[in-house]
């Protein structure tokens, strides 16, 4: 894409919610053996994931985060002009989950609500859309981003189930004359097969059937069905190396910042190995590139705001910060945002039973 700078929108608050229940390396050892589980944990950096109980939806997590955030901001529910729900984990194939959230949150019926089906890059796209809505006249926009990523993986697939966790987040955007957000975004749909759930709903290219539901041993020796997540880790890593360093350089250039000016680089929490390599490649000190997925796993579009609230809550609440946020993955899709923000409202993490 092109990059662009959106004037007039500011982030006023961020909140996160995760399921109370966890799965650990010890739980994985029961499926894959202790040695294999530990090897996977050392490679991915994930030791504990938050995994929602049966019946818990992503919207429940986003609701909990948003409810907490709105109370912290003391915003009237009727003052919200738009709500975006960024996720692949919808309550129903139809209607849009954002509509249900409008009702649950008690927002005005004058509020525009819509879903955005993106994952790893979704938070950045959500910020871009939200900021654009404000530039177009909205005063207050809620961005809810999350995933029940743990449910997408076959419990017998060592390439995915140890990696993914569940989370929901809420970000409040408001019009602010002096604020600007800088964006760089892009897409390569030619890589869509590298991160995919190949079959599922009645309207999908490969509809649900008994055959698509059957879990069998695949060419990579992992057991999954066509309705489970498939990830070609090597292709996704190669994509990350091709796209993310130039993405970060481009957004820094757009913001007219040097990398030394930036307080924190919050990158999509894909995998510890990838994040450490990216930091080294970009010449970024690791203390400026938070890695929190040890505690949560890869939570898709929630991973950036979850990382922000996990390790920078006090900093976010107390001073102005220059941040670079970058999401990359499923689609294939990528985006980065350079934003100066703070102090903002950042409530404590919500844990949903």
């Amino acid at each position: 894409m092109a990059g662009l700078t959106v004037p007039g929108a500011a982030i006023r608050g961020i909140a996160s919610a995760v399921p109370k229940a966890t799965q650990s390396v010890e739980d994985l050892a029961r499926v894959f053996g202790a040695e294999e589980a530990e090897k996977i944990a050392q490679g991915t950096g994930v030791r504990v994931r938050r995994v929602g109980r049966a019946g818990l939806c992503c919207s429940d997590l986003c609701f909990a985060a948003c409810d907490s955030l709105l109370k912290g901001l003391a915003w009237e529910r009727g003052s919200i002009d738009a709500l975006l729900f960024v996720s692949h984990s919808f309550d129903y194939p139809l209607p849009a989950t954002s509509c249900i959230l409008q009702h649950r949150l008690g927002l005005s019926q004058a509020c525009a609500a819509f879903d955005v089906a993106l994952g790893c890059s979704g938070y950045i796209y959500g910020l871009w859309i939200g900021a654009g809505l404000i530039a177009g006249g909205c005063k207050r926009v809620l961005l809810l981003a999350g995933e029940m990523a743990s449910r997408m993986a076959s419990p017998m697939d060592r390439s995915t189930v140890p990696l993914f966790g569940d989370a929901g987040t809420a970000t409040a955007l408001e019009s602010a004359a002096q604020s600007r957000m800088h964006f760089e975004l892009g897409t390569d749909g030619g890589g869509y097969r590298h991160l995919i759930i190949p079959a599922g709903t009645s309207t999908a290219r490969v509809p649900h059937s008994a055959q698509t539901l059957a879990r069998t041993v695949q060419a990579d020796a992992n057991t999954r069905s066509d309705e489970d997540l498939f990830m070609n880790g090597a292709e996704v890593f190669a994509f990350t190396l091709r796209q993310v360093p130039p993405l970060l350089s481009a957004v820094l250039k757009r913001a007219q910042w040097e990398k030394e000016d930036v307080d924190r680089f919050f990158l999509h929490q894909a995998n510890q190995f990838i994040l450490v390599h990216l930091a080294r490649r970009m010449g970024l000190p690791l203390e400026k590139v938070p890695i929190v997925l040890e505690n949560y796993g890869n939570t898709s579009s929630a991973s950036i705001p979850l990382a922000m609230t996990h390790c920078a809550r006090e900093m976010l609440a107390s001073r102005k910060l220059k941040l670079v946020l970058a999401g990359f993955g499923v689609g294939l899709s990528w985006g980065a945002c350079a934003v100066e923000l703070g102090p903002i409202v950042a409530p404590a993490l919500e844990e949903v039973p």
């Binding site: 090897k39 880790g233 890593f237 190669a238 190396l241």
Partner: protein
């Protein structure tokens, strides 16, 4: 980078004895050459050679020498 230097980097990567790789070794016969090592190899090529290795090309390699031959301009 010379081929010997490249093989030394691979030995470190996979945890093999220095000097144990000569080039003709089939990848399928190397203990520890698995999906995680492929990721580490991609990272190695990026860091040491400035090249993003194609996973498809890596899968097509039969021997260690084939890995080196992926980068003719960088490994001599």
């Amino acid at each position: 980078m010379t081929k010997r230097e490249f093989y030394s980097e691979l030995e470190s990567l996979i945890g093999l004895e220095p000097g144990s790789i000569q080039g003709a070794e089939p990848l399928s016969g190397i203990a520890g050459w698995d999906s995680m090592e492929v990721l580490r190899f991609i990272a190695l090529a990026d860091e040491k050679l400035g090249e993003v290795a194609s996973p498809e090309a890596i899968i097509a390699c039969q021997t260690v020498a084939d890995l080196a031959n992926m980068f003719p301009a960088k490994i001599t």
